[in-house]
Symmetry: D2
Subunit: 306 residues, 4 copies
């Protein structure tokens, strides 16, 4: 039980096969705001209710997937301290220069035992949510599509879950909030650096560094229905939903971007506190854990990753 110097998932860098198709998807269907494009052609977007400059970066590439996921930490001092702690723990780190991603400060990169590149940073330029900080309205008119409010978390697939959980909890001071186990064998793990039920999650998988989905917060179960309708109106590839997760209690729908990267929009998890006991799901109940209503997994969910 501890409190993490890590504030939140700050951004995810995704590889897409066709940049313009991806922009249409993330901007017009998910409802993110396109903020800018950089000299390398990367596109920066954010959810309307995010304060920092961007939370999604799209990079055109010849295969889909995730380049890296980044977390904002509470201060430059915390960033230095975490770097030292990582090194002391045996994790190599590298510094990525401020400005390498537009409007983002220096990043400390390390690789999780599951093979995923994780960046930590303490500074990103302020953009605001368009409502101002003086007498703000509660929401912004004119947002498109599913009206995603913010990038929320990723689910990643890789082999050595135990070592990944260990570095996240022991060095970065995340809490393990929920896990799926077969006896002592951990099949899936959900971790939080905040009062959210999860800020990052993992499923055990033979191949390392695989990306299952990036998740975006929407407001209500009614907005989950609206998202589902939009998915059908625009012939977006549906994975599963609307439904509820047993894990985190979230109300959710899964679908794919045009490159095959999975997205989730969801609402309504619970408030996590670090003095809470983690929740355990047993392997025989994994269907109910993941899809509470169907009580069985679809093949896609287990096997389709990028």
């Amino acid at each position: 039980m501890a409190q993490s110097p890590v504030l939140r998932p700050g951004h995810v860098v995704l590889r897409v096969l066709d940049l313009e198709a991806a922009v249409v998807h993330y901007r017009d269907r998910l409802g993110l705001q396109e903020i800018e494009r950089d000299g390398q052609g990367r596109v920066y977007l954010k959810g309307w209710d995010e304060q920092d400059w961007f939370s999604v970066v799209l990079r055109e590439a010849d295969r889909p997937g995730m380049d890296s996921m980044a977390f904002k930490v509470i201060s430059a001092a915390a960033l230095d301290s975490l770097e030292k702690d990582l090194n002391a723990y045996g994790c190599k780190t590298a510094r990525l220069a401020a400005g390498e991603l537009s409007h983002c400060g220096e990043r400390v990169r390390f690789t999780l035992p599951t093979g995923h590149a994780i960046d930590l940073y303490a500074q990103k330029d302020y953009m605001g949510n368009g409502l101002g900080r003086v007498n703000p309205d509660p929401w912004l008119e004119g947002i498109k599509g599913m009206q995603a409010q913010r990038f929320d978390h990723c689910l990643l697939y890789g082999a050595d879950l135990d070592a990944t959980i260990k570095v996240l909890t022991e060095v970065l001071k995340f809490d393990l909030t929920e896990k799926v186990v077969d006896g002592d064998f951990v099949i899936a793990a959900f971790l939080s650096c905040s009062n959210k039920a999860h800020d990052i999650a993992f499923v055990r998988h033979a191949e390392d560094n695989k990306f299952h989905h990036a998740s975006f917060l929407i407001g209500t179960w009614e907005e989950v229905l609206r998202a589902a309708d939009i998915i059908s109106m625009h012939e977006i590839s549906l994975d599963l939903g609307p439904t509820r997760h047993g894990i985190t209690r979230g109300r959710t729908i899964y679908f794919f971007d045009p490159s095959g990267n999975r997205n989730e929009v969801f609402c309504g998890d619970y408030t996590w506190y670090p003095d809470h006991q983690p929740i355990t799901w047993t392997a025989d109940q994994i269907g109910r854990a993941i899809f509470y209503h169907d009580r069985k997994l679809n093949e896609n969910f287990l096997n389709v990753v990028t």
Copy 2:
């Protein structure tokens, strides 16, 4: 910008004129669970989704109001450290013995400049939310009335807001999330020790140590309507609502317990992070700040406190 060793509002001790009428209200209308009664006749209740032993204590007395509000801190070491910090800051503290409140560990009490007794504690016995921590269902069947999930925050009235904000932010490391100001004069302040938009709030008022309301979390705007219907079905005294707050964006309804203590049930504030800039409301917009739809305050809200 800092992170607080304070986890959350842990409980509130309320004075009620008629204990049995109060129990009917908090148990059957709000939907709290009655946990136990102690040797002094005090009644302990909790929201169904709370893990600790209790979050509301009702004490029969000849005038309504709040005896004290308590916060759980992250560890016994943090409790000792906060006590020293409070003393060093010039706040006297007193230790209340473990067990003085049933199933609650030792408490450190101090008095805010606004006159309110605040307790800090690191330990309370575990009760659980009735769902277990292995393969839990997402909610509990059979909860009554408004189905309040947890005690969420209090709004308190008193004179010296500036000094109260100072001790909460400088010693307890709360964030000031929103404030209402007339020039430099702070009329109201909302403070968080977590990712919630508020864990405690204050309005400036001539008389010290006054209680405005205790707030309880419910799930959705539809449950706010349900609460409103229950209020009318049971002839509960309504203050105002259903409506939305400008401050915190919460969807809300206010009403009174049989002793005249104000309650709120609400849902749907935003996620606060300590790197966010506080929101400022100007005095000319105070109506919109408090009741976003009516855009004016009702007299009750300003003047009726216990």
Copy 3:
């Protein structure tokens, strides 16, 4: 107990002081679609989910209020028959030529004992709801503001409620669904020609031919909140809400157009069947009848009419 040859409220003709301000209100805030303007400068609008050509006509005038309310009947034969029945009952009627309102067939006009002009018609050109009738999506993207689906009913004020109820039930075969009474004295009456809880309603009032509000259907209680937010964002004059009616169970909010005509958006009444017994509200419960949560009337609601 009978079934009415009247299908539904087909349109309302409203007088507005400033046509362009009114168009902004009804089009961009209520979310009606502007269909056309005629040679007299009248503006025709419809809710997105209405099939016929228009349901609201705005006419610029030097005082606000309602010119007429019109009902579509099931056939030309029914129109002729109703005209005869009205005449036989002692109601004078007049024929208004096809095309007098654009794309609307011949209308039979009569005046209710409460002084309101009511038109009946059997034909209006088909516009469609934009989704088509082959493999339609469930809703239309890009609708503005409150996204009103259709014009639903009017509440009218006038003196002789008893005679108005009599002609509507005996000649037009409406059902009286709910009434507010002081002993035998009818204060308010709600009437249906369909399975809706009301298609038209009346409140007793000294002055005849007064207009209380035109009501528009929206989808859910969440959309009522959305409407309330839009009202505040655009500084629209609020009357009351969000709240629930005791009468009809509707979830509702009232506000004013820029000319002072009252509008309602609401959802969620019950299904009426002609074999149901009418509901009676007693005068001592009129507050609860109208505003179920506040349980009292605001002065505006009783006295502000156009």
Copy 4:
């Protein structure tokens, strides 16, 4: 385009394998009220918001399915008239004595070309919805489970859809609201005798007199989620959902009673008027027509009938 003397689906008589298990399901999970049991051991239930004595009858038998579905007509005169019209059309009818079903008046029975027994009746004793007809509250506290408000419609499977549509539209004056076609070949048909999008529906199927589901109305999409959760909490066999229908726009979930009879709870279709054009779904879009989000049929839905 006509108006039907048929008011609504009045009840359905279902065969169940284990009566007590069925009662637990329909009473405690769907939330119907158990009204009485008759001398034959049949159990009568109703939705809380229904006014008449019962709407579901459970009869223990050695195979599941539907004995008959009944419609209430507007008057005894209409019943006689419909009987004559049916006979004139070539449909044989039989009279079932008043009281054969408890508290239900005389019934006129005929068999649809698809093999289903349909009863018409004009009288059933009044039970009320528990709220009274004077100053009623908007809903009843203490209703269990999914809180089904009323029996709404059935979907039936059989061979000769064309002839069934013909008798329902030509004799009983139902409207065909939606249909699924493969060229001129009608695969499925949805019919209304009211302002609802459907009061009965049919899918073409080799075997006659098969029962697909009985549907019950609930209030909102949030209640669909609640129903889905209850289904999982009580290990009820899920067919599909929560989802939306393309046809009727309904928000829905399907599941099975302990005997294998399919149930639906749903909310939110549109208002049908007899001057509306029917909606056509083409066979290539049948997935989207039935399950708007999945856009494909599950095998169960097509093949599992009782």
